[in-house]
Amino acid sequence: MAPPKDTEKKQDARDVIEVRDFNFAYGNAQALFDVNMDIKDKEVTAFIGPSGCGKSTFLRCFNRMNDLIDIARITGGSVKINGIDIYGKEIDVIELRKHIGMVFQKSNPFPKSIYDNIAYGLRIQGIKKKNVLDDVVEECLRGAALWDEVKDRLHESALGMSGGQQQRLCIARALAVKPQILLMDEPCSALDPIATAKVEELIHSLKRDYTIVIVTHNMQQAARVSDRTAFFYLGKLIEYDVTDTIFMNPNNEQTEAYVSGRFG
């Protein structure tokens, strides 16, 4: 059972991400239309919507992962994180991504040992001291509720783990660089219900320290883990509100149709 929501108490929480009139296109195909959204600090925000509605694209805009796609471009609007326009001048994508971690749909642990996977983020920053790395690895694995399962095989290949463990390892790996925001792109889509439950539990415990944005296909999951939910349809943000409102008492007909399972 999900713990009771504490959204009301944090109604006036700070806006970490502010999106204004955001437009985004792949080549000539417009993918996002005039999205406006404020994501609050230390909350879980879920993006739901049918396939191809632009929710993953939107998520990948927050750490500029879309830069990797050549034809992708911003056609208007802005994304501000902590008040800084991340598409502005003098933004170092590398620095940005250190502060905004990401977990992908398909778990992608590197074909190295569990230890090396976690230490990777620090090692590329030039931190090589063994005791520092040891501490961070343990801290992150504990943070991802994985420590007890893997503490005896830290130096074995990460690919020998189960799918759910791999995904939690990816979360732990993202935590190692101490991000402020954690983006999750359908983290449970390839996991069985038990592994999914573990990841959801983890998301709950991470909420205290991180702002989490999660894309999910699974509406029950959105209802279980998130404080706020945004419903996307055909590249437009249809409705964005407190999760309970979206699921119990939506303002928009399309939202209601979608969350009640009548389409999508």
Partner: protein
């Protein structure tokens, strides 16, 4: 009743279609066997004939002279009587054969008689051959010069054969140097190029044209590269016939293979590794260094194996640029400055095989050298390839996903 087979639902029912299917399978199998047989015969032939030059019957069983000495003229003294009689038999055999050919098909008996006669002559010839081989004296050039007195001329018939004495030492060393140098150049340039093409370049028309031209380059005949290297490095750069010119010519020849294969193996690495690394705040180059190149290494090594086999085996590109038919000194001998090392021509096994098999007449003395050189060459290429394969397997074990 008993004769009639029970036909149940899943019983085999012969039909035209099934027959064709069976025949097709056999056709494929036969084709494979033919290829294996041909290759097997080739290798067995070279190994069998070549082993006569490379191995000896007494300890240490390996003919070290052949592997270390430079090619020399072989001086042969054969027992005069045997040689002269063999020559007579040869002439007689030719005369008889011609006679038999002139006989009509009706004269069967006469033809049979000639056949018998030929047989008798051949057995005498073989008997003489044994005596000749037993009593003959073989000297390599150095041995010949050291002789205090040559064998008596009334007992021995003298003849000499170029390149048939000594060994292939300088050619082995030259081949190894050429392979190592050109593969180092080709791998460095090729991997840099492949990294750029697969990781940095923007996909589009230009990239496709570049890729296509690289691919086409691998189909260019090696003699064209040889001429290019001759014009560019030997003449224009003025390096002369030198190891350096050979390195670059060979490197350019195998570059397309290495670039294509390396790029392919880099692009086969799942996007997730790159994204995972970039999302952790790694720079592009860090990502490539830690999460692309290591996993692509087995593929790159595979391409280098193909490259080594080609570099080691090609004669045409080095014919004009790097290879000497005969060189008295080893590459590190007689250098006035260290840079001379790069600007000297070397002997190379493929060119040596070409010279001994195309430029000098064939007989029993040259044949040993020809097959011996070919055998040594196969062993060297096999050794290079094997070490790359072992390396590849080790790396693949380390990074498996």
């Amino acid at each position: 009743m008993a004769a009639q087979k029970e036909r149940h639902l899943y019983a085999f029912r012969p039909s035209r279609k099934r027959m064709i299917e069976g025949a097709t399978q056999w056709f494929f199998r036969l084709a494979t066997y033919v290829v294996i047989l041909a290759a097997g015969y080739l290798f067995a032939n070279i190994a069998w004939n070549g082993s006569k030059a490379v191995f000896t019957t007494s300890a240490p069983f390996i003919n070290t002279d052949f592997l270390t000495q430079k090619p020399q003229t072989l001086h042969v003294y054969e027992p005069k009587e045997a040689v002269e009689e063999q020559a007579k038999i040869n002439a007689e055999q030719i005369r008889l054969r011609r006679e038999r050919n002139n006989l009509g098909s009706a004269e069967k008996e006469a033809s049979l008689a000639i056949k018998e006669e030929l047989k008798a002559l051949q057995s005498r010839y073989d008997a003489l051959d044994v005596i000749r081989k037993d009593k003959r004296l073989l000297y390599s050039d150095t041995e010949y010069r050291a002789l205090e007195s040559t064998p008596q001329e009334d007992q021995y018939a003298y003849s000499n054969y170029a390149y048939s004495g000594g060994g292939v030492g300088p050619a082995i060393i030259g081949t190894i140097l050429l392979v190592m140098g050109s593969i180092s150049i080709a791998l460095t340039l090729g991997v840099l190029c492949a990294v750029y093409l697969s990781e940095y370049s923007r996909p589009g028309k230009v990239l496709q044209i570049i890729r296509l031209s690289i691919l086409n380059l691998s189909g260019v005949p090696s003699i064209v590269f040889g001429l290019f290297g001759f014009g560019m490095f030997v003449l224009f750069f003025g390096w002369g016939v030198s190891m350096l010119a050979g390195w670059f010519t060979l490197a350019i020849m195998v570059l397309p293979v290495i670039i294509t294969a390396s790029e392919e193996s880099m692009r086969a690495i799942p996007k997730g590794f790159r994204e995972g690394s970039l999302a952790l705040g790694a720079s592009k180059w860090t990502t490539i260094r830690t999460n692309v190149l290591p996993y692509a290494l087995p593929g790159i090594l595979t391409s280098s194996i193909m490259g080594i086999a080609r570099v080691a085996g090609e004669t045409a590109p080095i014919m004009f640029t790097a290879a000497f038919a005969l060189r008295d000194q080893l590459p590190w001998e007689g250098l006035s400055t260290w840079t001379d090392f790069f600007f000297q021509g070397v002997m190379a096994l493929p060119y040596h095989i070409y010279v001994v098999s195309a430029k000098i007449p064939q007989n029993e003395y040259t044949r040993t050298m020809q097959y011996g050189a070919a055998f040594v060459f196969l062993v060297i290429v096999g050794f290079f390839a094997l070490s790359s394969i072992i390396l590849r397997i080790r790396i693949r074990k380390k990074y498996r996903w």
